[in-house]
Amino acid sequence: MSHTAPPPDEIFENLRLELRRGCLTLAVLAQLKVEHYGYTLRKALADLGLAIDEGTLYPLLRRLETQGLLVSEWREEDKRNKRFYRLSPTGRQTLKQLLVEWQHLNQSIDRIL
């Protein structure tokens, strides 16, 4: 039975998304060392060159909160209810470990390239 390979641009897109997924988690955790609500978090990340859409960010925040890495609270600011997120103690610890891993990987990739 013959197997048709997906077009190269689809392969690239899938690999790009895979690569990006882990990086986004790390970036979000790192950015939430300081408290943010969704919009300011997205803006802060975009200003630093990492644009992330709503459909990706908010489910990711929920998942990280469920895993106990983030805590959130609804508060009123400028007469509007906003949900603020920040790292939990477990999140802080996990971020430290992930950053060590990230730096190790980066160095290895640099050497390989």
């Binding site: 997906p6 077009p7 641009d9 689809e10 897109e13 609500y37 969704g38 919009y39 300011t40 997205r42 803006k43 859409d53 709503e54 459909g55 990706t56 908010y58 489910p59 925040l61 929920r62 998942r63 909160e65 469920t66 805590v71 959130s72 609270e73 609804w74 508060r75 009123e76 509007r80 209810n81 906003k82 949900r83």
Partner: protein, 341 residues
């Protein structure tokens, strides 16, 4: 801002009930912040086409909502809106075919029972089969073909895939969070009228209650004493359903009808049996023995109906409270579970 409300409502309809409040509140806040930031950049309010551009950049409501659910494991996020769309069409067509078949059977002289057999089996057989086949086909497409190939196959699929959608085509958002769709209110009203009509017709047509057993069964003292209070409660329920045709009190009146249902069952229960007695003065021994079982069956049925009615009422109250509750403003850490993926 009407477009934003419509967009948020469209997202909400794709979300699991327990996530709707939080997700919509958070997303709404994000959209408003985004629009305000753009307005302050431009120094003027955004016009409709600019708001449309913002919403299109956020993405198709179904696609966005798919990111929150656990279900996209089997069918990917890109195909999920189209899957839901096709599933609705397939289920609607299957139901239509069943209705037509039932009508044809009835018109050609078949009994009511035979004619309705397919319709009664619809939720247990046909709907499950349709759901299963559509899901399998989409899971295979997702795994083997890939949405990119599908997307190229026909440009009309782009709309379903969420590429060519327009926020201006979204249905209007209900004005009140607790309101219920009109079709559901009408359906509830029809149900309430039929129930009242049935109950009122029972004394003159015992067949409606006992079926073929009407030849040798009669309402017992328990049922006779329950007749008037239950008829009055059923009439009040009809009035409530009629009032519910006009918003915004639909959900509240739905709850009132549920409470009336619980009260009705409680009244029958409180009055007590025997609910059914033999029609003749000296019943044969076999019928006297059968009456014990009939009375037990009625009692057990009352218990089951009471449990179902109370559970439904609790569920409705919970949903109603949840739909009305704004996201917590107090500074309490949220422990609401997200969507594990």
């Amino acid at each position: 801002m009407d477009l934003i409300e419509r967009y948020l409502h469209a997202v909400k309809t794709h979300l699991p009930l327990e996530q709707q409040g939080d997700v919509v509140a958070e997303l709404g806040e994000d959209l408003r912040s985004r629009i305000e930031a753009r307005e302050s950049e431009l120094g003027r309010p955004l016009d409709e086409s600019e708001v449309v551009a913002v919403l299109k950049a956020v993405g198709h409501p179904g696609r966005l909502a798919a990111g929150y659910g656990p279900w996209q494991q089997l069918i990917g996020r890109a195909l999920f809106p189209m899957y839901i769309h096709i599933l609705k069409i397939a289920l609607g067509l299957a139901l239509l075919v069943n209705v037509v078949v039932a009508a044809v059977l009835f018109a050609t002289g078949h009994s009511v029972g035979e004619s309705l057999r397919g319709l009664i089996a619809f939720p247990f057989l046909t709907a499950i089969l349709v759901f299963g086949w559509v899901t399998i086909v989409f899971a295979i497409i997702d795994a083997k073909v890939g949405p990119a190939v599908l997307k190229d196959a026909r440009s009309s699929l782009k709309t379903l895939l969420g590429e060519d959608w327009d926020p201006r085509d979204l249905p209007p958002a209900p004005r009140h969070q607790s309101s219920v769709p009109l079709w559901q209110v009408v359906l509830d009203l029809v149900g309430a009228v039929l129930l009242l009509a049935w109950w009122l017709a029972v004394p003159s047509h015992p067949f409606l209650l006992f079926g073929p057993g009407a030849a040798f069964l009669s309402p017992g003292p328990g049922l006779l004493a329950s007749y008037l209070p239950v008829a009055m409660l059923a009439a009040v329920a009809v009035v409530a359903r009629v009032i519910a045709l006009w918003p915004p009190r639909r959900a509240v009146l739905g709850l009132v009808c549920r409470v009336l249902g619980v009260v009705g069952v409680a009244v029958v229960w409180w009055i007590g049996g025997p609910y059914i007695v033999p029609a003749m003065a000296n019943p044969p021994a076999d019928l006297a023995k059968a009456m014990i079982w009939i009375e037990r069956t009625v009692t057990v049925s009352l218990v089951v109906v009471t449990i179902i009615t109370v559970v439904d009422l609790i569920k409705d109250v919970w949903r109603f409270r949840r739909a009305r509750r704004p996201p917590a403003v107090a500074a309490t850490a949220s422990t609401r579970p997200g969507s594990p993926r």
